[in-house]
Symmetry: C2
Subunit: 156 residues, 2 copies
């Protein structure tokens, strides 16, 4: 399934992968959540080729995940910074879920490189399913139900 | 960054992408969470080439996300089913986070194709950050802190 097919797919997971599924994109987003904004900083942190980075960042801007802003350091020409939009910042949840899974199921000897805490209270946070009463729900207790919008809706 | 480099990376998000970052893998996992187990069902649901599907499933088995089980329908030769392990079922959180983001930020006219509810109570669930007291935390309130295991630890 190529990018255009993914973006037009009825499934929103597939559409997400149309925006984020290319090599490097999740790692670019990881850097962005970590506070990186400048093109050169993304490039140096990731060791990614400039043309690939440009393509990936342009794609994220086109899909409303990032915005591009011009800036100029004294004595330098205009350069560009890339910042997460509010929609982009919500992807922190996806990255947090991936990180948590990797820390638990693909551990490395020195342990996790990152921890996430609430800014105001310093309490540790994790990513989980919660219901509309705010109760944490085990993934095995979560049922996946097709709606009438599903191409293979099975009936109520 | 190729698969081997991703799998050896200090960052657990990168390691996750070493297991799951190839084209199709998230969609295979989506089908698995939806209850698909048989090779032919994955192939038909996704329209994926058999050799690619075999490679992706084998990779997931190697990394402990799925197990392969032989089964035999009456009058047929032995075939194989692929089932999520407990670790694999935890990836439901990642898929739920992707789906939620896509439903909100890449919406399509007929609306979401899937909803997730608690089996026992039928209450809707969503994916979010929660702290160790069980309180939901806005992503913007979550700080990313480098541990001493981080290759670019900045000091306490």
């Amino acid at each position: 399934m190529n990018k255009e097919k993914l973006l037009a797919n009825p499934c929103s997971i597939a559409r997400c992968l149309g925006v984020m599924g290319e090599r490097w994109t999740f790692l670019i987003l990881r850097e962005a959540v970590d506070g990186t904004t400048r093109f050169a900083e993304f490039r140096d942190a990731l060791g990614i080729a400039s043309d690939v980075l440009t393509e990936r960042l342009t794609n994220l801007v086109e899909h409303g995940v990032m915005v591009r802003e011009a800036y100029r350091d004294p004595g330098h020409r205009v350069r560009y910074a890339y910042k997460l939009t509010p929609a982009g910042r919500e992807l922190h949840v996806v990255l947090g879920a991936l990180q948590m899974w990797g820390d638990e199921h693909l551990p490395r000897e020195p342990g996790p490189t990152i921890e996430r805490r609430v800014r105001a209270t310093d309490r540790p946070v994790h990513v989980a399913f919660i219901d509309d009463r705010g109760r944490e729900i085990d993934p095995d207790e979560v049922a996946v139900l097709r709606t009438t919008a599903h191409p293979h809706y099975l009936g109520a």
